[in-house]
Amino acid sequence: MSDVRRPARVRAVVDELLADPYLGRCVVAHRVEPATPARTAPLPPDLDPRLPAALAARGITQLYAHQREAFDRVRAGRHTVVVTPTASGKTLCYNLPVLDALLKDPGARALYLFPTKALARDQNAELTALMEACGAGLGAAVYDGDTPPAERRVVRDRAQVVLSNPDMLHTAILPHHARWMRLFENLKVVVVDELHTYRGVFGSHLANVIRRLQRICRFHGSDPVFLAASATIANARALAERLLEVPVEALTANGAPLGERHLLMVNPPVVDATLGLRASYLGVARQVARRFLEQGVHTIVFCGSRTVTEVMTKYLKDLFRHRVDRRPRVVGYRGGYLPQERRAIERGLREGEILGVVSTNALELGVDIGSLDASVIAGYPGTVASTRQQAGRAGRRQGMSAAVLVLRSHPLDQYLADHPEFVLEGSPEAAQVNPDNLQILVSHLKCAAFEIPLADGEAFGRRDEAGRAETGALLAWLEERGVLRHTGGAWHWSHEAYPANDISLRSVTSTNFVVVDTTGNRNEVIAEVDYAWAFTTIHEGAIYMVQSEQYHVDRLDWDRRKAFVRRVESEYYTDALSYARLKVLQVLRAARHPCGAEYGEVEVVRKAVGYKKIKFYTQENLGWGDILLPEDTYHTQATWFTVPDEVARGLAIPKPDLVDALQGIAHVCHGLASLLLMCDGRDLGVVIGDQRRAWFLEPRRPGTAPTPPPEGFEPTIYLYDQYSGGIGLAEALHPLYAPLVVGALERLQGCPCERGCPSCVGPPQEVGPRAKAHAARLLVALLSAERAAPDGPGAAVPPLAALLA
């Protein structure tokens, strides 16, 4: 397949799409980014003389402008975050200054952190090759769970660059820092790659791991420069400063050349105006992907969930199933596949042997899969940053590439159909972290005390007076708990436990489930499933898919973390329903009036209740099954607002209708809240209920009547952080309550449907025929109460669009 012809084929497919009588009309936006030439800079004049030769051998005689800039800043000791897109030569931004420093002082050390083991191994290979080309006997080594014990000592004492991950730093390196004395005494540069992945719980943990790293460096007398690299997010600099707690400069001007790029947004057509029903986004995405694949264009298709990824993989494989020769190879890719299978797929993509890949956001990261020509994004991924990353997976330094975003009938996607500029020009999201989340902070305070006793007056975290006082109070509490001892002006770890072992940096537990294929007594592990996903993907009766092949889950051994499956040819897949109820533990911010928003700590209990069997292609519902699994309980934060009984009665809305209307409000608010917070919708949970009367809305199953709400029911909509401990989303949402209500009202009034549709309150089959009308009246009532509140915003509630601009 000739590389030269690939861009021409991309152009042909894009032209064809735009001219297509059916799809062409669905294109709501088409933006062309013209090719940009490279901006280059000479190699630094005082570079160690061994480097230019080594670089020349790999065809590099000059740098891209941002690479040179990064070099100069690190050399000057300025903490920097490099914010550039995929394939911009980011690696050299940190390898060059690090190698130069090491060549000039072989005693110096550098630490590289990557979010995954695979990325560390990729980078180690590249760095080692460059080191060898310099011929100075420098060494780099990966230190992770797979490093053989016999090699660990050598890595500790000899490797000039240690490549690792935050989890390993947290459990194995920092608590043993005396063994790593040579590293910590001579640490000159710390590289944090894929900075944007450190958001939410993981990011909040990382910030604390960095605090511990900084303490240890100070103890051993080093003061390293931090060099981070990030995909394009709104607040890369702010995020870097929050994670690293040092002043950071951002470097955003990309000097690498880019080929011409097309971004299309496609909104599936309305097929039933009264119901507001649109054609299936998956169907449209399939058609778009098909056109690219049929023309031999290397294509990646992104899907929002693991199940959808498997379904789409099946659809695309089915398309070419009956081809006799030159059948294009299409594969699925997602977390949970076994590592060797994933490596094989990555290799197939790099070598061009695989034409199409269907993936979850797992391929959003910098895993090396080479450059593809087209990216089809089935459904808005939830954030502008993700959209850009996914679109950026197609794109080369030369030649044309295309990305097509197919919108769903969700309020969020439909808002974007009306405002495509939000995706095309809007600023990408800010990644949220909350390093001072109490639970996370206390966990790492224990680790810090274990590593080096904390001195009186030492702050861990915020270094102001309040931060110092809080650290002191937390230490005192830990002493009461018997794990610390205050003596001689310092807090000493005084317990036999090793605290880092009990703290996982990722939100999911480390106890994965394995999926065992028992077909024909094979008893072979075919996949792994995270704890959090087990409730909804490997319950008994589920159809579990790997590479779109279907397996029936016969038995789930919860205690031993094993699911036993059998290969089947199923005409359906399964989709589990879970629901949550919650309990307010403590109100941290009270409401200004009875309808106002409150914020506080809550306990969430999540339970998977049943699953639907959905027929492939037609999406017909073939039946229901029960799920009998334990509940999952965690503490987090929520923002909530209540409709008092008298307000509902004043509007004369009957009780069953009231529940419907609230469901509609919750539907639209959830989408808009994630837009306002610039977060991924999956990070934010929503639940309707009345905690005082212990009633929560459960997913409705056909043929069963919903449990009616109790007498005196005062429904509340809770929006909560879907992470144990919370990550600050609900807290950020609380002051945005008024714009949220205004935005929800605008969305309802602006939607052309009659009685509700998936794009606003949800389809009438789910929320009833009167939900849209009642929801609008309720929103007006809530808004007037908010405006009339004593210190409320009055009439001056800013419209949503203004806030987002």
């Binding site: 109490l438 001892r485 005084s494 436990a497 403590q586 503490h635």
Partner: protein
């Protein structure tokens, strides 16, 4: 408040540690935890449903008090633990009096020191300590990285053992008690260095380092546990030591003999456990009596710190002291066995493991003597591995006749399916003796015992084919044959 001296007398007389009433202890003023914060922390602690964030540390933290034997109605058993006593607390001297300990002053402050002088004429189990000094223990290269030292005399060494706040390692694990044993005149002195609290660590480690000097170290499992842990502690206290004008960081002793590694060889298959207590029982004939379990030791110190049962830690001193003396006795046994490997064994030993250790030490004659003695005392089946190893030694030494004899003996003793001796005999017969017919006999016998198609079977088939070719060629060439391909390398067959 009773008279402290009276309490000490009581403690010494009935041997049971007295529990001071914790309520009477003066409590140090804590920094206050604001009520709202406390509430949030307790909520978080109570509601952590996810196992990943629920550290066992907090709930387990109270267990030291529960396990300390405090009365159920003792308020400290349920409430937060009491803090350490203020200076002048009446119970403070109890431990010192009981152990005969005295504070040792240094430029960086004090710590507590206890010295026990055990006469060398005393017995430890069935070993007389003076006898334990008789034979130096040979060292491997890795035991003495600095070079020069090839054997270690117990009288020159320091025997080191630590009691720590945990077994997990890492910088948060502290050695609160270090025992160092050394020979001084007619005594084996066990000096114990004890932390009365964390801030005394710099003083303790500085004194320990000065006392160690540049003497070789003997430990039990010290290579992987005690020494790295002490190294970490020295490194963490480096700045304090340097400020006091002391050498900073860890010392580098000229040799470190880890007796666990030696014991694993000397008693390789005869003992199931190579824990020190098991070796004491079986090798030294010593019964410890009641002793603290390893897991109780950190708690004993935490109890002492927090003013719970402040005397239980005395048990850790006893435990540590026995460990140190046992190391001397064990080193004596090891030296005795290695000095006369052919001698009759007083204790259950492992001739094969001992011979392997001797080979590692480069003592081939010792290994021969050891295996020879083993063959003499073993019954037939047990002798097979000894013959195999002897065959290997003799073959390596170029003594083909002896090697062949041992391999043939091993082959005769081999149970069905064990053919390594057969293979060795076949090799020797083919290449050294040029006895192709004999070699074929052994190779065929071996082939009949291995699974068909296995790699062993393929190798044997290959050998048989080659033997057939050689026999055919020899027949064809008759007596006029020139030197074969192996003749140049092989010495003329001896004793044929």
């Amino acid at each position: 408040m009773s008279d402290p001296a009276d309490r000490i007398r009581r403690v010494l007389s009935d041997g049971l540690p007295a529990v001071p009433p914790p309520a009477a202890l003066p409590r140090r003023t804590l920094q206050a935890v604001p009520e709202a914060l406390r509430q949030r922390l307790e909520d978080l602690e109570a509601g952590q449903g996810r196992p990943d964030l629920r550290g066992p540390a907090a709930p387990r933290a109270r267990s030291p008090l529960r396990a300390s034997g405090a009365d159920a109605d003792d308020p400290s058993a349920v409430g937060p633990p009491a803090l350490g006593p203020e200076p002048g607390d009446p119970t403070a001297p109890a431990l010192e009096a009981r152990l005969g300990a005295r504070p040792r002053a240094t430029a960086l402050g004090e710590f507590l020191e206890v010295e026990r002088r055990v006469p060398l004429s005393a017995r430890h189990g069935r070993v007389r300590l003076a006898d334990a000094l008789a034979h130096p223990v040979p060292l491997r290269d890795r035991d003495a990285p600095a070079g020069g030292l090839t054997a270690l005399r117990a009288a020159d060494a320091v025997f080191l053992d630590t009691e720590t706040t945990g077994l997990a390692g890492g910088t948060g694990t502290v050695a609160f008690l270090v025992g160092a044993g050394f020979v001084e005149g007619e005594h084996f002195v066990v000096r114990q260095y004890f932390l009365r609290d964390f801030p005394e660590e710099a003083a303790l480690l500085g004194a320990l380092r000065a006392d160690l000097g540049d003497r070789p170290v003997v430990s039990f499992n010290g290579r992987s546990f005690d020494w790295p842990l002490l190294t970490t502690r020295w490194r963490l206290n480096r700045r304090a030591h340097e400020r006091a004008g002391w050498p900073g960081g860890e010392p580098s002793p000229p040799a470190h003999l880890d007796l666990l590694l030696t014991a694993r060889r000397l008693w390789a298959s005869t003992l199931h456990s190579h824990a020190l207590a098991a070796l004491e029982r079986h090798v030294l004939g010593l019964a410890r009596g009641e002793d603290l379990g390893g897991w109780q030791i950190p708690m004993a110190w935490f109890d002492y710190l927090r003013g719970g049962d402040r005397l239980r830690v005395a048990e850790a001193f006893r435990h540590n002291q026995i460990d140190v003396v046992s190391m001397l006795a064990l080193m004596g046994e090891a030296g005795r066995i290695l000095a006369a490997p052919g001698a009759q064994l007083a204790t259950p030993g492992d001739r094969l493991g001992t011979a392997r250790l001797l080979l590692e030490l480069g003592d081939e004659d010792g290994a021969r003597a050891c295996l020879g003695a083993g063959i003499a005392e073993a019954d037939a089946a047990e002798g097979r591995p000894l013959h195999l190893l002897l065959g290997w030694i003799e073959r390596r030494a170029g003594r083909d006749a002896e090697a062949l004899a041992h391999y043939e003996r091993a082959a005769a003793l081999a149970p069905p399916g064990e053919v390594d001796a057969h293979e060795q005999v076949a090799k020797l017969l083919e290449h050294r003796r040029r006895d192709y017919a004999g070699a074929r006999r052994y190779a065929r016998a071996a082939l009949a015992q291995v699974p068909p198609g296995s790699s062993a079977a393929r190798a044997l088939e290959h050998r048989l084919e080659r033997l057939d070719r050689r026999m055919a060629r020899r027949a064809a060439e008759g007596q006029a044959r020139g030197p074969g391909p192996d003749a140049a390398r092989a010495p003329p067959a001896r004793g044929a």
